[in-house]
Subunit: 517 residues, 2 copies
């Protein structure tokens, strides 16, 4: 019935006698689940007619309205050569051109980690989970809300490494605001490369930082390996509506030329950066992704690309972005369908919420998003854990809480076993009317793997829970984060490689004056 789903870095076994079990319980856990391979259908919210209408309208947007490639003459040259109508910075694409160019992007690719056990497959039926990206603030129960530092960043990388259900180390898990803006990427990459052995993301805030990212990967993985394989998946946001700025496109150009993967992701607060309707927003998302992915294939045909969509709704009273809302879920379902029809891997957000605290609001909104993303067929879920306050805050407790819920996604995605053991007819016959199943042979054989079990949530009797301090989820999560961090052991890395990475960082830092804006 069950699959061996979790694998240890050192292949630690699960069997053995009492002493071995005690030892296993006290051993440091560095288990990481394999990326999810869905054995359940996707939820098809829109019918074929609706999808064709949206595709038709997206082609109209590209042909009649067009997109702007800003301060990027080389991009305009590429578009002209490909047959687009270029007027100033406006690029209009004849119907069908974008889709035709997108066809060279692979439907599925492998992102390699320095520990090959941690490689992830992106596309098809897979789902890869990566942590929060981008917050300038951090929050924890002890220290409250404050600007993030590089030490916070390293703490989140360690937590991510210790999180069993997280497949990916992510990118800017928080902004290390104590490091100059133009040097942060070096310290962030060094942390991902040395404190974790999971796959990670590159820098996109300047083309030169993307180049640094590629060069650091060449040190870590070897130049030939990087030329042939995706070792980074990086986040390229569209400046919605319909605008591709030279910073993000510059980073995309570096990565595509180096055959490294990018997520081409419209960043939309609905009603502000896109029309106030689901169908209109999906039309714009599709047009933007088609234009961006098509452009990546002009830079290098075959460069791995992900169809991204970061779309939230807006509270029209306050202007605040809102998360976990029905409109956001509808857009997620629809965008997943559009991505599948393009044959591209699909990326969404994960544990999105607007709450200031890791409270019930945070959990409702997060669970709404996680459930929708699983059924929408997402292949790469960014912000799967740790996101708080609309992405302004990376929360230690929420990181641990969400990371625990990700275990439920693994089990859900596994689908329903239907073999003879799973049918359990012998159990039904053995127990019969009025009996109970706790002691029957079938239950004894399968209870360990039968039900997903949280490593965090409270399942205790009321009296025990009350005596132990009546702790809420955030308090339990704080304790679990401290435990995970206290058990953390840095994954082994060749000393020569470490020194080479550190010296690359030192050299690049020495070449630049500090910049803080």
């Amino acid at each position: 019935m069950a699959e061996a789903e979790v694998r240890g870095a050192r292949g630690r076994g699960r069997g053995g006698g009492g002493a071995a079990r005690r030892a296993a319980r006290s051993a440091v856990s560095v288990e990481t689940a394999r990326f999810i391979e869905r054995n359940i259908p996707d939820f098809e919210l829109l019918n074929a007619e609706a999808l064709e209408l949206i595709e038709h309208n997206a082609e109209r947007v590209l042909e009649e309205i067009g997109v702007n490639f800003v301060e990027n003459p080389a991009a305009l040259d590429r578009w002209r050569a490909a047959g687009a109508d270029v007027q100033g910075e406006r690029v209009r694409l004849p119907r069908g051109l974008a889709r035709q160019l997108c066809a060279t992007a692979p439907a599925r690719f492998t992102q390699h980690a320095r520990n090959p056990e941690r490689n992830v497959e992106i596309g098809g039926r897979s789902l890869v989970l990566a942590p929060v990206y981008g917050p300038p603030f951090v929050r924890d129960l002890d220290g409250g809300r404050r600007y993030a530092t590089i030490e916070d960043f390293r703490r989140f990388v360690r937590l991510g490494y210790m999180s069993k259900w997280l497949h990916h180390s992510g990118g800017t898990v928080c902004e290390p605001t104590d490091i100059p803006v133009n040097k942060r990427h070096l310290d962030m990459l060094l942390a991902h490369m040395t404190l974790s052995d999971k796959p990670f993301m590159g820098s996109v805030t300047e083309p030169s930082r993307a180049r640094d990212s590629v060069e650091m990967c060449e040190v870590l993985f070897g130049k030939d390996f990087v030329a042939e394989n995706a070792v980074m998946t990086s986040l390229i946001n569209v400046n919605s509506p319909l605008t591709f700025d030279s910073t993000m496109m510059g980073a995309l150009e570096v990565y595509a030329a180096a055959n490294q993967a990018c997520i081409l992701s419209p960043f939309i607060v609905g009603g502000a950066m896109a029309p106030v309707s689901v169908a209109g927003t999906l039309t714009q998302v599709l047009a933007e992704v088609m234009a961006g992915v098509a452009y990546s294939q002009l830079v290098r045909p075959g460069a791995p690309m992900i169809f991204g969509a970061f779309v939230t709704s807006i509270d029209m009273n306050s202007g605040a972005p809102t998360f976990g809302t029905p409109e956001a879920s509808q857009i997620l379902f629809g965008a997943g369908q559009l991505a599948r029809r393009m044959g591209l891997p699909f990326r969404s957000g994960g544990g999105l919420c607007g709450s200031k605290l890791p409270d019930a609001q945070a959990a409702y909104e997060t669970a709404n998003t996680l459930n929708a993303a699983l059924l929408a067929g997402v292949n790469f879920m960014l912000h799967a854990c740790g996101w708080l306050e609309g992405g302004l805050v990376a929360s230690v407790e929420k990181f641990v809480m969400d990371a625990d819920q990700l275990g439920a996604l693994h089990k859900m995605a596994r689908g329903v076993a239907l073999d003879e053991e799973a049918q359990a007819m012998t159990a039904l016959q053995e127990v019969g009317p009025g009996g109970h199943f706790l002691g029957c042979a079938h239950t004894q054989a399968h209870f360990k793997d039968a039900f997903w079990r949280s490593d965090l949530l409270d399942y205790k009797p009321f009296e025990t829970w009350d005596e132990e301090g009546a702790r809420d989820t955030a308090t339990l999560a704080s304790a679990r984060a401290q435990k995970l961090l206290s058990q953390y052991q840095q994954p082994a890395l060749d000393e020569g490689l470490r020194e080479a990475l550190e010296s690359y960082v030192a050299r690049r830092k020495a070449e630049m004056p500090d910049a803080f804006v």
Copy 2:
């Protein structure tokens, strides 16, 4: 794009000038949303082959293992007459008999409320939301956790009446433990009938209490009306595995004979009352529902029945039932498919959770269940709000928090509009690359209805929220509950009817000695 979905008891309009709008804002809200009619597909987790296998196995269970009808000679007689093999209390059903008997149960029926505006349709594409059922304890921020009283019960009925997204007043919203066990049902029904005008559930704890429920409805609705129409939907639990006790069956017999609706609901903690596998549990659920619904049709062909499933997983470490788990969702999806194939309305739980507090655990588990139930095609959702601590506790704050989330289900179920306005091509053309949509004509025309908006959750800027006390969701919910209760006005009821109901209650109480067990 939008539908007029919420209707007021007095048909209060939404337009008018500034003064009218201010008056409307300060007026007491007694709006209630119409029951949901889904305009989205169901999520089909299992394929036809899997469903046929489970149906085949369920027939084997009924034929080879059978079910027990305990201390109920009349039921055994009915089964014998219908062609079952009856040995002692064991009833074995030849393949196909149960399904054939179930065919007379209607696919859809109307449950009438005393205010016809609040009538609900149960079955087909509809979804009716009802509050928590059964907790002996209540909890609120002010008073903590304590045994429930009739005053608590009345408070929850008032809150349910004031909750816009709740269509149904429910049944035992909490156990009024200060009233004798044999008289509670009278006070509970009186509260539902007089403090609310939404539909409600009858008593099932004794056949005589079911008769009292029918008689009180005859007072409220008139005897002829009750004979022709469903005015109660009551909850009949199966004593799983495969056992139908005389108390519950006695209540079912009363309701079916009176043409009143029942939910036939296996009550299963997986691994204890059913096999430890999803497929085995679905097999047992189907067998139990088929036997119970078939029996109802032996009592009265055409009696309205709902395919129920209350199934949770178990924590095999502590033995505690667990909620919002992937296995529970899988069973929900599968049971919904089995119910649709039987042509019966389907009932699930809603805001289920195991947490002791209305915290993040409660919200994760609840949202997991609510989302699964919506997509599983549930027609009648019990425990949609207020459930805490595995159903031991009815929580005031959680009632308000969940009831707010139910608004999101309404919007999600509405589906995606695709008319010309919704396509928003004019907005895309008007705004163009680099613009913004906040001020465009399309946004101005549609922003009020474009996005679901919580009436509870915090959408404020951090600084405002912090200055206002950095309140978490439970604290906001406590304030909202107090506000709703302070605005509560009892719905009008004919004075003669009220007196007749009160005198029925007084007479029945006088006829019985108090019983506390």
